[in-house]
């Protein structure tokens, strides 16, 4: 059947996707067509967010899909005509300027696992999700498997936490499951706060049932009867879609005794830290606490609690369906499977990419993203670092990026242009951490402010050798003594820019004496 798939994720909405979808429906009406003859389907992210609003045409003759980007509502009629008659010459010419090459490496090199339903499934319809296989693995687990078999499969797959820390997921599931008898909980960390990261948002907005299936499987594997999704308030569309998906799930009776709840944050970056997140779910200030005890031992309401990131949980149904060995065959070294990155900054093709671990940064940024004249790539958000263009051949993995003084992080990848002064970028991240510090521990609360003031001198070109020394000393102190990852990671952008771009700091010294 002929079909037009419209991206209805936040990126394309911001670019005018709603108006385009309405215009398409009108154009269909003008042509005297019924929804049965031409389906206009709302779907999740079609990946190339920078060319939004995006539409994919599935022609009536069953030919391969065609992708169009930055389409104004005025082109709706041409899109409808082209879908019905794939060789309509007038329509193809009218749309030529908006055509997106589906064979470009940006699409061709992707390997969708977590994102396989995005752009295909209607995120607001459980029937469509079920038709695409949602919840089939959950039902298979319940009917055929014991929890320890599910955990063994995840352990064998080599899946590691995609929120940034990279802790082996199977091991975490085992730890929670093997706690002394009593109630356990599962929590999905959907508090995606790193600037430059929008992978989890795309999954939440584009395929919420996949995430909920992963969460329900995790609950089955560790023996939990209560689960929470903690979602940041800055993602209103994701909240609405997840809420709807949960309602549909309850109505269909697919939860079978499992209670899943949505909790919405209120704008605090630190709540992405697991102990702060638990404090916030419990209705308190989102401040972290000392670990151990780890949440796996003593978490929400004092119970053993499994906390996994969105991308980690969304990978679970695919791993169970295709097998642990299939997943483990992707990737490199101790980093198996695929990773989703949100590609943004100074490059022509911005959007979402999912590639096997071990793909080089250069492939992602230059071949897929089309970047040229790259100064550095920033990965890992405010706790990450910058990797200079000379080192872009590094394969992407948890260990390799950490060795370069950055981190894989949650998947934000921002391409920095030639002209950007690195002290200014370090100052930007330090300002972010100072503003988001929860204030509980002194090194982070006061240290980030002091570091930001030191960086201000370098930004203004009036630093000194003494300032440089103090920057490094204070940075090490904040890193070593802060309570949680926010403070411990805050000096990383400074260290990584000092490591690879020290000359820029030195050039900013020796100005006017202090």
């Amino acid at each position: 059947m002929a079909q037009i798939r419209c991206c209805t994720a936040s990126g394309c909405r911001a670019a005018g996707g709603d108006a385009l979808q309405q215009a398409l429906q009108q154009a269909r009406g003008h042509q005297g067509l019924s929804p049965a003859a031409l389906s206009i389907k709302a779907v999740g992210c079609l990946r190339l967010c920078g060319r939004g609003p995006l539409v994919a045409l599935d022609p009536a003759d069953g030919g391969c899909q065609k992708l169009y980007g930055a389409v104004p509502p005025a082109s709706a009629l041409a899109l409808v005509q082209l879908t019905l008659a794939p060789h309509a010459p007038g329509a193809a010419a009218a749309l030529a300027a908006h055509a997106v090459d589906g064979d470009h490496p940006f699409f061709a090199l992707q390997q969708p696992v977590v994102l396989e339903g995005l752009g295909r499934v209607d995120p607001e319809s459980i029937d469509d999700a079920l038709a695409h296989g949602a919840y089939s693995q959950l039902q298979r687990c319940r009917a055929e498997a014991r929890p320890e078999q599910v955990r063994a499969c995840i352990r064998r797959s080599g899946l590691r936490g995609r929120g940034g820390a990279g802790y082996p997921t199977g091991l975490k599931w085992d730890t929670v499951a093997l706690q002394p008898p009593g109630p356990r909980l599962v929590v999905c960390n959907a508090d995606e706060g790193d600037p430059g990261a929008f992978m989890d948002r795309a999954v939440l907005e584009g395929d919420p049932h996949r995430l909920l299936e992963g969460l329900a499987i995790a609950a089955f594997a560790v023996g939990a009867e209560l689960g929470y999704v903690y979602l940041r308030a800055e993602y209103p569309l994701a909240i609405a879609r997840l809420r709807r998906a949960l309602r549909q799930l309850r109505q269909r009776g697919l939860l079978q005794g499992l209670d899943l709840q949505l909790r919405v944050g209120a704008g605090a970056y630190v709540c992405g830290e697991e102990t702060a997140l638990l404090a916030s779910i419990a209705g308190g200030r989102g401040t972290p606490r000392q670990r151990p005890p780890y949440p796996a031992q003593q978490g929400l309401f004092g119970r053993p609690t499994l906390i996994n990131n969105v991308e980690t949980l969304a990978a679970v149904p695919a791993i169970l369906r295709r097998g642990a060995d299939w997943y483990a065959a992707l990737g490199t070294g101790r980093s198996r499977g695929t990773k989703v990155f949100s590609l943004s900054g100074a490059l022509p093709h911005t959007g979402l990419v999912e590639v096997p671990m071990g793909t080089s940064l250069r492939t992602v940024v230059e071949t897929m993203g089309g970047a040229s004249g790259v100064k550095a790539v920033q990965t890992g958000g405010p706790a990450g670092g910058c990797i200079p263009s000379a080192l872009l051949d590094t394969p992407i993995a948890y260990e390799t990026l950490a060795e370069l003084g950055s981190m894989l992080g949650s998947g934000g990848m921002v391409v920095l242009p030639e002209g950007l002064p690195m002290p200014q970028l370090a100052r930007y991240f330090m300002g972010f951490c100072a503003a988001e510090s929860c204030g509980k521990c002194v090194p982070c609360r006061a240290g980030t402010v002091q570091l930001a003031q030191l960086l201000d001198r370098f930004c203004a070109g009036r630093g000194s050798a003494g300032d440089l020394q103090q920057l490094e000393q204070l940075g090490r102190m904040v890193q070593a003594t802060s309570l949680c990852g926010l403070g411990q990671g805050a000096p990383n952008p400074v260290f990584s820019t000092l490591r690879h771009f020290r000359h820029e700091y030195e050039a900013a010294c020796g100005g006017a004496p202090r």
Partner: protein, 159 residues
């Protein structure tokens, strides 16, 4: 941050205003549960209804949940998105996420500071996740990329 002077209602109206606030707080508590874990949900619901969390509302929440006012105030003031002052008529927020920053969000922010029309409040956000459209503005809660900004510009006084 400067706290706006709050206008108190005339004395004979104050108790009526307070009892209306208490009733609204009680409805929120009934819906979300009379337990400390529901505090953030209740504050969200109240802010959605009234646009902000007024001192009488926070006091009513404290009474309703039998929590110390310090705890309620502490939670409300911890989170950036809870407003402890009445909202402005319109708000325009500049996203200062990394991608927007790299694409000139600071310059945009500076221009807005100069050109902001009366009735508009300028705010900043750390990342709304629309990084591919950057620099991005949130105009009365709606994401606006560069293309949409041209349409909105006259309203917000952006030239």
């Amino acid at each position: 941050m400067h706290r706006r002077a709050q206008v108190s209602p005339p004395l004979h109206l104050e108790s009526a205003v307070n009892s209306a606030v208490t009733a609204s707080v009680e409805r929120c508590i009934a819906r979300h549960g009379r337990c400390p874990e529901a505090l953030i949900e209740i504050l969200h619901a109240l802010q959605h209804q009234h646009g902000w969390l007024s001192p009488p509302a926070l006091a009513a929440v404290s009474r309703g949940l039998a929590l110390p006012l310090s705890r309620v105030q502490g939670v409300a003031s911890f989170y950036h998105l809870f407003a402890l002052q009445p909202p402005p008529r319109h708000r325009i927020a500049v996203c200062l996420g990394t991608a927007c920053f790299v694409r000139g969000a600071s310059a945009l922010q500076q221009r807005l500071v100069q050109d902001l029309a009366p009735g508009w409040q300028l705010e900043q956000l750390s990342c709304v996740g629309a990084c591919a459209q950057g620099p991005v503005l949130l105009v009365d809660g709606q994401i606006a990329g560069l293309a949409a900004m041209e349409l909105l510009a006259p309203a917000a006084g952006v030239s």
